[in-house]
Symmetry: C2
Subunit: 274 residues, 2 copies
């Protein structure tokens, strides 16, 4: 496994792989890798000749009062885990390498990034779209693997890549969960034992919403309210939003964001009407 920390080094390595006829899989992360990330790496390794994992805690996607400084950083573990899951390259640049002069350029995706996380975290998706565009420009033609846990992020990235015609195929991968339903997230590390016991309420709320949709309830506000009610049964949880959104394909996507103590968790689930 090659650990790289400059843009030219990654570009050169992936260009060489492609020149030799290899296909490239890309997994973009902020590090603190867990089984969710590793499932993306394994899928990429199964479908591509080489896999590059990027580890970069992107300051652009954090708000001024968010957890940029506290965000867990443990590159050595991340590199070993990536290699174990099949990665050939780990790209872990410094902020100085990525933005030697800051950035005056911002990539904005309208509409897709407006509601839910976009509303709760102003500027967040601009930061995401900008760093992903930059990493796509560096990585070159590839398949890029994103988890459905951050579903709105996936949609923002998909739209950005299509609108700007990046030679990148976006692959959506299912959310990895603990046995109790808690979606894996690097931010779960912030939870105290008591909070960790309370956190699966987010998933239970989504399951309750899904049960309603599957029973034929089409009133999206009613489904949202039912999910919020489940959340309210857990004293350690504070709801941010609970929304049901019908897609063009007839499926309904359910979203919950909540704070457990001071830690903000998000999750989502697909439901199919009968």
């Amino acid at each position: 496994m090659n650990l790289l920390d400059t843009i030219p080094a990654l570009r050169k390595a992936l260009d060489a792989e492609r020149a030799a006829g290899g296909t490239v899989g890309l997994v973009l992360t902020m590090g603190a890798l867990h089984e969710g990330h590793l499932s993306l790496v394994r899928r990429a390794a199964a479908e591509c000749d080489v896999v590059a994992v990027t580890v970069f805690v992107n300051p652009l996607q954090f708000g001024p009062h968010e957890d940029l400084a506290a965000y867990p950083r443990r590159l050595e573990d991340d590199a070993a885990l990536s290699e174990g899951a099949g990665a050939s390259y780990v790209f872990a640049p410094s902020v100085e390498e990525m933005f030697p002069d800051g950035t005056l350029t911002i990539v904005h995706v309208a509409e897709v990034g407006d509601g839910r996380e976009g509303r709760a975290r102003p500027g967040h998706f601009d930061g995401v779209a900008t760093i992903v565009a930059k990493l796509f420009a560096v990585a070159g033609p590839c398949r890029a693997y994103f988890g459905e846990k951050d579903h709105q992020q996936l949609e923002v990235v998909r739209r950005m890549a299509a609108d700007l015609s990046f030679p990148v195929q976006i692959v959506a991968c299912p959310t990895a969960r603990e046995a109790n339903g808690l979606a894996l997230s690097s931010r779960n590390a912030y939870l105290s034992p008591a909070e960790r016991a309370a956190a699966p309420v987010v998933h239970r709320a989504l399951l309750a919403g899904r049960a309603l949709v599957e029973r034929g309830v089409t009133d999206q506000a009613a489904v949202g309210a039912a999910m919020a009610e489940v959340l309210a049964t857990e004293p350690a949880a504070r709801l941010d939003y609970a929304e049901a959104l019908a897609g063009a394909d007839g499926k309904v996507r359910l979203f919950v964001a909540a704070r457990i103590g001071t830690t903000r968790l998000i999750d989502n689930l697909e439901a199919t009407a009968p």
Copy 2:
């Protein structure tokens, strides 16, 4: 010369050229090619193995009351001229090919794109940065040639390419002029014979500004006012702005924008203090 009209066709052609060891030169245009464009194509042909000229009247960079519909379109001439100047590919996609679903993604470059043209044409540089990012994503690694006539555009593109780490080297090329100093522009075609006779006043204003800078005048407002005074001697001309801007390199860049009749012309010149 190959005339291409789909994104996959251009990407495939340039990937094949690079795979065969060739370097790619890129000249982005809105068509209606004149000697200014062709000087870019010839320079690209001298420095790269193959040259691709893109011809796309980009709706994103026109304001609601600007000349999108009237903008001159003559692809057959453009293709022949490009070939004559050394281009191997002309990429002339339809709006439908470029934006089948419109675009929700906008690339914005702060500061660099704020004054002068950015102030006069709100949204213009967002449209420029977005289409250039997209064409860079399609074209892949290359050298891209831009004229200094649109100097602020050049600076916006340069900053965007650096911030997003596109594998594209930006090459600035001198402005092509008529013998009377008039900068070549596709919009010169809008000028009546009388207006065409009046139009060189823009260049004369810049020369007057340059003379002041070279004589040691450092008051940028005074230089701007002197350029505006020259503009005012021509009854057919209406000044938009006349600005002098000192760069980090000690050079001064002079800018004039004016309407000659209803046609808006811009030009700029570099001046060196004694």
